[in-house]
């Protein structure tokens, strides 16, 4: 029961008993407005304005006024093969990061849920990718991938597996190389979320299942996974969106190169808006990104609802 219903009821039940009705609802407005106004002015407002801009020819640093051009930006986008290529890259990147991220994080969470000696060390290390600025993560992996001074090439040389490649400049290697970085950077959050989910599953269920002679895989399937599923779906959906919309990591690693092979949609939109000043066109890209991601997520969630009846 909440405070407001409690006081309302007491006020209705015994009028005047507590010195008259408390200004509950007015009080709530005072609590809400300080956050609501900035949200409306600086978040919801710009968002709607951004959608409007998508239907104009807005450009940066132009003196004559902006014209309403209807769906022209969207028609242009339809034929912009570079945009669709970046969209495809964005999807490959988002799936390529989200799926291994989830599987690795699940493995690590299961390990950390056991009584292992080095558990504390793994928890401590997991802070590093989580707390690091994305720019630094990018810089760091540039050093790892570096053709001469990089530890990756040196290790491969030591193992006799090739001789100094420039991973981030290779047409074929750039996207996989940045995907590895994305996985590394986002694994800790996913691990912690899954670990918390694991710790919410009652231990007794595991023990009962073990006593019934269920093996590790069966215990996972019948006890662990059903309890974990809501958390797992939520974190996967969020990771997918975040990864699809990510910017800083790849900007620092490759700036979208070589030859646009790692140009994620956000990098493309950033260039259109702030390098070429095409605000209207970039806003239209943003709209298309939201729309298509929403459709994909809706499909995902429908699949989730069909897959089970929990939550």
């Amino acid at each position: 029961m909440t405070l407001v219903t409690a006081t309302k009821r007491s006020a209705q039940g015994a009028p005047g008993a507590d010195g008259g009705r408390r200004p509950v609802d007015h009080g709530a407005w005072f609590l809400v407005l300080p956050a609501l106004i900035p949200i409306l002015v600086l978040s919801v407002g710009p968002l709607l304005y951004g959608i409007l801009l998508a239907f104009t020819d807005a450009q940066s640093g132009r003196t004559r006024s902006t014209q309403w051009i209807g769906t022209l930006n969207f028609q242009d986008l339809l034929h912009d093969t570079l945009f669709w290529e970046s969209f495809r890259i964005g999807l490959v990147w988002a799936v390529g990061v989200t799926v291994p991220q989830f599987l690795l994080a699940l493995g690590l969470a299961l390990l950390l849920n056991q009584d292992l000696k080095l558990r504390w060390l793994a928890r401590a290390l997991a802070i590093i990718p989580w707390a690091m600025p994305e720019v630094v993560v990018g810089v760091m992996w540039r050093l790892v991938y570096s053709p001469d001074a990089g530890v990756l090439n040196e290790t491969l040389r030591d193992l006799g597996l090739g001789d100094g490649r420039d991973w981030l400049s290779g047409l074929g290697t750039a996207l996989p190389a940045v995907i590895v970085v994305g996985v590394w950077a986002g694994m800790p959050q996913t691990t912690v979320a899954l670990l918390a989910g694991l710790q919410n599953t009652p231990r007794e269920l595991h023990e009962a299942a073990a006593m019934d002679g269920a093996g590790a895989w069966r215990r996972f399937r019948t006890v662990t996974w059903p309890a974990l599923r809501p958390v797992a779906f939520a974190i996967t959906a969020l990771n997918f969106i975040w990864n699809f919309n990510s910017f800083a990591l790849v900007y620092v690693l490759t700036s979208g190169g070589p030859g646009g092979r790692t140009r994620l949609p956000m990098l493309f939109a950033y260039e259109e808006a702030f390098r070429y000043g095409q605000f209207g066109y970039a806003a239209a890209m943003g709209c298309v990104m939201v729309a298509l991601i929403s459709v994909l997520l809706a499909l995902f969630l429908v699949g989730r609802l069909r897959g089970g009846d929990d939550t």
């Binding site: 809400v32 940066s60 802070i127 001469d148 969106i241």
Partner: protein, 277 residues
């Protein structure tokens, strides 16, 4: 639960692999930061600096205005964290305690705001801030960071409020305490650790932020640490590795320290928020 010896060995092998994957890139960054130019030029890099030196740090400070950039980052992050928490806490309280339409709308906004690509918000914001003369200014950046930090601040704080038993407030109300008294003397003290954790998390997120800072800050005097870091990487992507590593290492330290302190509280707050709503 028992695990067989073979299973145990497998588990430790897997854990070791994870430790290596998590730790090695960072160790490499630290190692390069302390290597001498001669060592960095060597074709066969070693794991540990043979002749550790602080030259890279000195050079990093010479090449780029790192101190000023750190000061800018500090101001932007502090301002954003304080304001965000100050205005988010009351709303989070209402969201957690009252099932009003407004609270539901706010929750919906928190979720939806995660899905929007930043570019769709930054273009109009850029135009608005430009008209207000707030482009290339820290106050403008703080404004943007506050709004950016609000969703996750609300999310965490709602979790913390829910963790404070409503019965305590009801008891205080029964004892005749007014709404404000109840909030200040009963709820706020119990909420304080959560508020601090949320503020620190908002601080780190702003300290680490790159995209908004890149778009809004034009001149080097105004730029924050992440933006200045990218100046070490030249136009052709050629980087001066030693100073770059040194500066990157320094830029990470504050986040790592703060994060190490609050990590448990953050995960606790985010998860109670996530699980209970």
């Amino acid at each position: 639960m028992r695990t067989s010896t073979g299973g145990r060995i497998g588990q430790y092998a897997a854990l070791l692999a994870y430790l290596v994957f998590l730790a090695l890139p960072f160790l490499w960054l630290v190692s390069i930061a302390f290597k001498s130019p001669r060592e960095l030029g060597s074709l066969h890099p070693t794991w540990f600096p043979q002749e550790p030196t602080l030259d890279n740090f000195r050079q990093a400070f010479d090449e780029q205005p790192l101190l000023r950039a750190a000061g800018n980052s500090l101001l932007a992050a502090l301002g954003a964290a304080l304001i965000a928490v100050l205005i988010a806490t009351p709303l989070a309280y209402v969201m957690a305690r009252h099932r009003t339409r407004l609270a539901k709308a706010a929750t919906g906004w928190v979720v939806v705001s995660q899905a929007f690509p930043l570019v769709l918000v930054i273009i109009p914001l850029f135009l608005v801030l430009k008209n207000l003369g707030l482009i290339n200014s820290l106050p403008g950046l703080v404004l943007v960071y506050v709004v950016w930090a609000l969703p996750f601040s609300l999310w965490m704080l709602v979790g913390y409020v829910r963790a404070v038993p409503a019965e305590l407030e009801e008891a205080a109300a029964v004892d005749g305490a007014g709404r404000l008294r109840t909030l200040v003397s009963v709820t706020a003290p119990l909420l304080a650790p959560g508020i601090v954790a949320t503020a620190l998390f908002a601080f780190i997120t702003a300290w680490n932020e790159f995209f908004f800072a890149l778009v809004l800050l034009k001149t080097p005097e105004k730029q924050t640490l992440p933006v200045v870091l990218t100046h070490f990487i030249g136009a052709e992507g050629v980087a001066d590795l030693g100073p770059l590593a040194a500066a990157a290492f320094l830029a990470t330290l504050p986040s790592l320290v703060v994060f190490a302190i609050i990590q448990r509280r953050i995960t606790g707050g985010m998860l109670t928020g996530a699980v209970k709503s």
